[in-house]
């Protein structure tokens, strides 16, 4: 049962435009959400997170939006840069239960120069 879903396997955007990466979850007990970025032959690196008590968190070019009623979150990158080309993973956990991080399958983002 895939509790964290990233339904679009890939996304291609033009440099300078906005990239919007989507993530859906099914477990209503999840209360902390994270985005990771992964380059080939490297481990994933943390990008940005959001607690369920918020609906938006911004860090430079990266903003994560959370819609709890829809069980949906999205990562916005603006402006997109060629160096942003990577696989992006959405992750979630139930901090109250001290549970593990559950990851989605990832989205491959390609930013065209």
């Amino acid at each position: 049962d895939q509790q964290v879903k990233q339904n679009s396997p890939s996304l291609s955007v033009q440099e300078g435009r906005i990239s919007i990466l989507n993530c859906d979850y099914t477990n209503s007990m999840f209360d902390y959400f994270l985005w990771y970025k992964k380059y080939p032959a490297e481990g994933p690196t943390f990008l940005i997170s959001i607690s369920s008590i918020k609906d938006k968190n911004e860090d430079g070019r990266f903003t994560v939006f959370l819609n709890k009623s829809a069980k949906h979150l999205s990562l916005h990158i603006v402006p997109s840069q060629p160096g942003d080309s990577a696989v992006y993973f959405c992750a979630a956990r139930n901090t109250g239960a001290n549970s593990k991080l559950t990851f989605g399958k990832g989205i491959t983002l390609s930013v065209r120069p």
């Binding site: 990233q6 902390y32 994270l34 990771y36 032959a41 490297e42 481990g43 994933p44 690196t45 943390f46 997170s49 607690s51 993973f89 901090t95 109250g96 001290n98 549970s99 593990k100 991080l101 559950t102 990851f103 989605g104 399958k105 990832g106």
Partner: protein
């Protein structure tokens, strides 16, 4: 070291052999995860250690897989009688264990079973 360290970085083994993969988490981190990523696939959860609690082994794909964490620090993932479908990148991550904190990943071990 400053980050999560995994060894070896690459491992080629013959089908049927046993392998051990090692993870040195960040010092003081109480939570430790193992994931694997097969070619073209996402991050598949394997096992989660949190402090002195019983590990969450719900992701281990078969009884050929086991993991232990000695002294709340170093962890070893053991795969017995390896099969070709075990070929993947095995990733270890650790976190402070305090809620609302991210996990830090190592570079992974690329396992190839021939």
């Amino acid at each position: 070291g400053a980050g999560v360290s995994q060894s070896p970085s690459n491992k080629v083994t013959e089908k049927g052999k046993d392998v051990e993969l090692r993870c040195d988490p960040i010092s003081g981190h109480t939570a430790l995860y193992w994931y694997r990523q097969s070619l073209g696939q996402g991050l598949e959860f394997l096992i989660y250690f949190q402090g002195n609690s019983a590990p969450d082994k719900s992701g281990l794909p078969s009884d050929r897989f086991s993991a232990e964490r000695t002294g709340g620090s170093v962890s070893t993932l053991t795969i017995q009688r390896t099969q070709q479908e075990d070929s993947a990148v095995y990733l270890c991550a650790s976190s402070p264990g305090v809620w609302n904190t991210e996990a830090f990943f190592g570079q992974g071990t690329r396992l190839t079973v021939v």
